[in-house]
Assembly symmetry: C2
Homo-oligomer: 211 residues x 2
């Protein structure tokens, strides 16, 4: 028999998010989080290094899934096909429970610079994971870094949409974000027009404006 419940981690995450949103991140102690989850401080620190980590427990797993998806894409896949594979790989974990957590996390990050800094560190690590996967596919250093920034922006856009539209699956939000970014990457790379000027004539660009 384990000495603590198998779902301790999830309960600690849920308790922390509830308390952070209710009473504020700064005002919440690790002891309160543990008690709210029906556990103790020692159990908390078995699962998380500090109070901020409890907010980002699933980010490392996401980074791994995204990178695995990119590595598994077909041999000659261009960037946006690799990103599509990455988002397909995370789609199964993007369930309603995750959406609830993501929504609460955004609220907490907006209220605390300290939390936002940790979120940015996690973001940087996801970017590094994506860049490493792109390098494994033969991309040079700079292409891999650029591809990672585009991929991370696509992921952010997809998650933002997914949080704000309760009736849509993550996969749909991800597909839309990829379409929007592909068009814009084309436009900015071609440098054909002014930033606010008429876009290239793809049918995708027209549907994008309906957001």
């Amino acid at each position: 028999m384990p000495r603590w419940p198998a779902d301790a981690r999830e309960r600690l995450e849920a308790a922390a998010l509830d308390l952070f949103v209710e009473q504020g991140y700064e005002q919440t102690t690790v002891t309160q989080i543990a008690e709210h989850a029906g556990l103790n401080r020692a159990t908390f620190f078995r699962h998380f290094d500090d109070k901020r980590e409890v907010l980002f427990g699933d980010q490392d797993r996401l980074a791994g899934l995204l990178a695995d998806g990119i590595r598994a894409a077909s041999g000659d896949a261009p960037l946006f096909d690799c990103l599509q594979a990455a988002f397909a790989a995370v789609d199964p974990v993007m369930n309603p429970q995750q959406r609830g957590k993501a929504t609460q996390r955004v609220q907490v990050m907006m209220a605390s610079t300290e939390v936002r800094e940790r979120g940015l560190l996690k973001r940087a690590r996801i970017a590094e994971a994506i860049a490493a996967a792109l390098r494994d596919r033969g991309a040079d250093q700079i292409t891999a870094r650029l591809g990672a920034e585009i991929g991370l922006l696509a992921f952010s856009l997809a998650v933002e949409r997914w949080i704000n539209t309760n009736d849509q699956r993550f996969a749909l939000c991800a597909a839309r974000a990829l379409r929007e970014l592909r068009t814009r990457t084309q436009d900015l790379g071609s440098g054909a027009g002014a930033l606010g000027g008429p876009r290239s004539q793809s049918p995708v660009a027209q549907s994008d404006t309906a957001s």
Copy 2:
């Protein structure tokens, strides 16, 4: 007469960087920094909110210069011309003294997660300043965010080169970074070839595989 020397800020920054590199960020106190600069703690806190801020005192000014440069670019300038204008605007402050500070800052960031997090927060604020300037030029939200990530990556590449090549002016490093990123943005946007493979010469029409 001012109550503290006019160059107190610069002396505190230099003292902090010297001590952080010599004895480590964690091991250095604000009192030590102030004493090393021939000043006292109170003067330190007149200039900086906390120990981490002393490392990033010039980042807000950089963000402002980059944004001003973008706003001042000619009316129909595409993204990479706007970025060129941004880098031209910061070039005058990228002097040998700044290069020394940037070199030390990288060392400190590599040794401390806490410092790296603050650096990422400053990075995010520069991205927001660039995105705001691009929106002012008529770019939509997503184009502005994509342009800001590309711009920030170009700036990072330029600074990395500038730090590592003592004999080059920042402007030259910036021009090279922009050329490299423009080519890659074009390639990734066109999606014509595999990431590491030979690039196809024909602008193949893309099927909307993401939908």
